[in-house]
Every structure is written in structure tokens, then in C-alpha cells.
Symmetry: C2
Subunit: 334 residues, 2 copies
């Protein structure tokens, strides 16, 4: 059997509660007593049973993180940052993969996953604001960067519109006029895709360049999606001199397909992405993209969530933060 507080208490000749007090840094303990307890802890190799503490205190010191899939580089990198941010504040992170399915997202918002965590960081992909509000329990919840915008929810936002506009403006400045967009529907206006598309449109309008819906291609936000979309564009004989992948995976897939097809990048066709994943820097040619402020998002989201958990949840003023983005100009679109 494991060593318990009781064992320590006996060894140190104090009450169980005093041991608890020492461990929790209770203010009023005589240094001598404290030392005696500490020695006993050392000697017996005692370690607090976190499960018991959780049951009693109602806190687990764990944050939940719901994302589509860790095998997607952007999420993996974000998760890594979030775990570090949480760790430095004494929290652990329990990751749940939604696989981009509504059922899984809903399950993560409610249910037992919640009971294991003190609060949730959630990157919604299929659920809308109302569904989230309906499904979510009472525990703190912070939405991340992507899909949903709603005045009733705490969130840390990516500047989807502005950053996409910046990318587009950069392509336009390079003399490109026929910029294909990968990963959106022509009519889309909400979610990451919609917001980024609207940024693209706004930049075109600013530059007096006409918007051509034929250059907007719907596909999965993965490398193979990007590759397939570009293949279809080329096969259809569409005329374009640049490709804007709404995330880096799309852009990298497109880049690959273009090169395979013998197109020169950026001479014939420029390519730009969105996310600035590590891979972008080492692509050949290196990928021009926009860094949405991943580290800042992780940091602020964790901070905000923990504030909600530990602070008076009574202060119900919704907080919505925006991360600063930064254009990263590289070889694929100079």
C-alpha cells in the first residue's frame, strides 16, 4: 500500500491535518513542526494522492483540450504550447481528439471528460455557438482561435479576416492578379474558412481586382486536399498565377502538386499559406504564410481559463482576446 498522510502524521508525531497544512503551505506552522513533517515525508517517500485531493477539493488541476487530431501539425504545435503554458502554472492538460465529428465534440463538452477537468479549451469545428452553449456545463470554457464567434463566450481569436487580407495583399503586391483560394466555398461567410475568404475578398476589392468565384475551391484542410484541389484547377484549365491555401497543409499539398506537374514556384505560380507551422520554413521553396500568433494564443488562452477557474466566476464579463498575427514572407511568394 502507498504511504498516506496518516502514516506521515504518525511518523512526525502530529495530526493528519497538520501534515495537510504543511503540504498546502498553510501560514501558521512553527518552523520546527514543519521541518519534522517535511523530514517524515522525505523519509517515507510520501506523495499526495491527487485523486483523493480532487475528490475532496473538487479541483483536478487539469485542463481539457479538445481539438480535431494531434496528427495535424498546427494542432500538435498548439497543443505543445498549451501544455507548456499550463504546466508552468501548475496544471496538466488532458487532450481529447474530436476527429472533426459533432458527436465527439458534444461528448467532450459534457459528460465525464468535463468531470476530469477544471476547465476546457475548445477548438470547435462542427458545433455552432448555440450548440456549444447548450451542450456545455457550468465549468469554465474558453474557445480557441477558429470557428465560432459569439458575444456570450470567452475566446481567444485569430484575426482570420485581417491576416488573410494581409496574405492576399502581399500576393497582389507581387503582381499576382489571379489568386486561387483553396479550402473554402464561394458563399461561405462564417467559420475560419468564411472569415479568411472574406479577408481575401476585401484585399482584392481594396486593390481593385475582380473576385472570381471559379478560383475558390472547396476541399478538406489537409495536404492531400490541397494537392487534389490544385490538380482539379490545373486540369480544368483555369487561369491562375497564385494559390492561397487557407492553411499551411493545403498550401503545402498544393505546392507539392504544382512542382510535380512541372510548374515553377514562385516564378509561374506563387503559393502562400496560413498558420506558419514549422514545416513551412523547410518546404522547398520555403512557404510564405502568416503566423497567427500561436504562442500568444496558447499563453493567453491558458491564462484566461485559469483565471476563470481560480478567480471569482461571479465576474461574468465575457472576454474576447485577439492574438497579433505576422506575415512571414519566404520563397514561395516573394
Amino acid at each position: 500500500m502507498a504511504v498516506t498522510m496518516n502514516d506521515v502524521a504518525k511518523a512526525a508525531g502530529v495530526s493528519l491535518k497538520t501534515v495537510s497544512n504543511v503540504i498546502n503551505n498553510y501560514e501558521f506552522i512553527r518552523p520546527a513542526t514543519k521541518q519534522r513533517v517535511l523530514d517524515a515525508i522525505d523519509e517515507l517517500g510520501y506523495e499526495t494522492n491527487l485523486t483523493a485531493r480532487s475528490l475532496r477539493s473538487g479541483k483536478t488541476k487539469m485542463l481539457g483540450l479538445v481539438l480535431a487530431d494531434l496528427s495535424i501539425p498546427y494542432y500538435a504545435e498548439l497543443a505543445s504550447d498549451i501544455m507548456k503554458a499550463a504546466w508552468s502554472r501548475g496544471y496538466r492538460v488532458l487532450v481529447e481528439q474530436s476527429g472533426n465529428e459533432a458527436e465527439h465534440e458534444k461528448a467532450a463538452l459534457q459528460g465525464q471528460f468535463r468531470s476530469l477537468t477544471d476547465g476546457l479549451l475548445f477548438i470547435p469545428l462542427t458545433l455552432g455557438a448555440q450548440q456549444i452553449i447548450d451542450a456545455a456545463g457550468k465549468k469554465p470554457l474558453v474557445l480557441l482561435g477558429e470557428f465560432v464567434q459569439d458575444p456570450r463566450l470567452d475566446m481567444v481569436l485569430i484575426q482570420n479576416h485581417e491576416a488573410a487580407a494581409a496574405v492576399t495583399t502581399h500576393l497582389l503586391a507581387g503582381g499576382r492578379r489571379r489568386i486561387a483560394v483553396l479550402g473554402a466555398d464561394d458563399g461561405e461567410t462564417t467559420g475560419s474558412a468564411g472569415l479568411r475568404l472574406s479577408g481575401y475578398k476585401a484585399a482584392l476589392a481594396d486593390a481593385g481586382v475582380e473576385y472570381d468565384p471559379a478560383l475558390v475551391v472547396r476541399c478538406e484542410w489537409r495536404r492531400d486536399g490541397g494537392a487534389g484541389a490544385v490538380a482539379r484547377l490545373l486540369d480544368s484549365g483555369a487561369d491562375f498565377d497564385a494559390v492561397f491555401g487557407l492553411n499551411d497543409a493545403l498550401a503545402l499539398g498544393a505546392l507539392h502538386e504544382l512542382l510535380v506537374r512541372g510548374k515553377r514556384v514562385p516564378e509561374e505560380i506563387a503559393v502562400a499559406g496560413f498558420d506558419d507551422i514549422e514545416e513551412a520554413r523547410f518546404a522547398s521553396p520555403s512557404l510564405t504564410t502568416v503566423a497567427p500568433g500561436r504562442a500568444e494564443i496558447a499563453e493567453r488562452a491558458v491564462e484566461l481559463l485559469i483565471e476563470r477557474i481560480e478567480g471569482n466566476m461571479a465576474a461574468p464579463e465575457v472576454r474576447q482576446l485577439q492574438a497579433a498575427f505576422e506575415l512571414r514572407v519566404r520563397k514561395s511568394a516573394t
Copy 2:
């Protein structure tokens, strides 16, 4: 306050214990009673408090996973697979990033992290077998794929030697004779680096090609490490017609640097890696590499660990499994 078993019991007009029995599928319960309890659960929206269950039962239904960093694609992809494998068996995974530091690895083996999990999947990078055995508690532990080999520990192994030999043989078959190796020390014989290096040497020997220590470059197993290593090779005027990165990140970094320097790949210099991360398929040119059986490793490791957790731990026969590997020939080295 949350709904407890007691509330359900009252609502259903049975004892608390009966509710517990229903939830745990105890055999002898009259269907009518069972239904009444189930209805009450539904009506009240009861959900088991996992913390309380853990405290009482001593099981958390969580597996720990210790790896260097989720931002490294291979680990992220492996983690994703592991989480899915665990999920399908009713377990969750709690990830801990060691940051490749001995202190963190040790901390994860002992301490509170252990108490949150029923067993541990561990990818050791700095700790040796003896240190692991000394540090580890009594809970089940399965080592993954990489570093350590020891008859006293359960593990699922990558065929480092054989797979590296296969890659080297492939390069040799393509007519390459001066194959640089990135990510190892000349003298190294243990760990992933040592084992892969020895596979490389063996393949050379088999082909009657002389081993040149000057072609073995030590560096960090990251993209920038690979890029830097190749840069140093080129600057030193070394003569080589192929590069074998001991993992894909190294190879991709090297590939990038070679192309930046105007080398033609694979015509002048072939490049091959190890791991077959998703990114390898979409590099330009696509990366020849070896798939170490990631999905199988995840599956078997989880299976083995859960077997240890749930089975009689009394059966102390150490199990060491090997995953099948597969060479993936692509454009960077045909």
C-alpha cells in the same frame, strides 16, 4: 451540486449500492429494477464521478504517455494513434512532455504523474535501462520503440538496425557509394542513433563499401539540425552522393538545405529518412524513407500495457514485441 448516486437511488426507490451495481453491470439485478434505475439516471442526468470512482477503486482508466515534445511530427502522429487505440479500449491518455530532459523523464516515471495513471507508455531518450528500473514504481510500464533495450522491461521495438540497413541498401542499389549519415556520432552503438548507425554500417559492409567516419555528422534530431549538418558537410568540401537522415526531420532539413544550395536531388545527391511522417510524402521531391510501423506500435503497446494493467501482474514474463517496418521509395532517392 452535481447529481450523485444517492439522488438516483432515492428517485428510483432503491439503495445506493443497487445503483452502483446497475452501473457496473452486476449480474443479478431484476430487469424491472434495472430499468427503474436507468430511467432515474436518464431523468436526473446523472453521470458517474470518475474522481470518486478512482479513489475508491484505485484505477483511473488513464494511461500516461511520456514523449519529448508534441511539436515533433513523429511523436504527434504516434500520440494520435495511441490515443485512438486507448480510446477504443475505454482508456484515456495523459501526455507528458519530457522536453528531452532527464529530470522530466524521471519525474514522469515516479511521482504524481504515475498516481494519475494506471500504466505508462514511455519513450525514453535520456534515461538508461537501469535508471528507468530504479526510478519506476510498481505500476505497469511499457517502453516504446526507441532507445533502451533490456531484458527486464516490457517494450515494443522498432527494428532500428534492420530498417536502417534497408534504407542504406536501397541507396547503395541506386549506385550511391558515399552516403552521409545525419544524427549520430561515429562511435555510437546504443540508442536509436547507435542502432540505426550500425544498420547503416552493416549494409555498407554487405555491399563491400568502405565506411568513412567523416561522413557521420552529429546533430540535433530536428529539421534545423539536419539543415545545419548538411551545410557543414558542404562547407567542409566533403564528397558525398547521398544523405541518410536518421529521422525524417533531419532528412527534410537536409533536403531543404541542399536545394537552397542549388544541389539537384536526387540527381546529384539522394536523400532518405526514417519514420515516414505524413510530411515526407508531400516534400518536394517526396522523401524516400522507412515506415517503422507506427500504427502497429501504437496498437500493440496499448494492448500490452492494458493487458498488464488488467491481467494478473503476477505473470512476470517480460514481453518484447517488434513492429514490422516497410521501405517507402519516393522521389528523393529512387
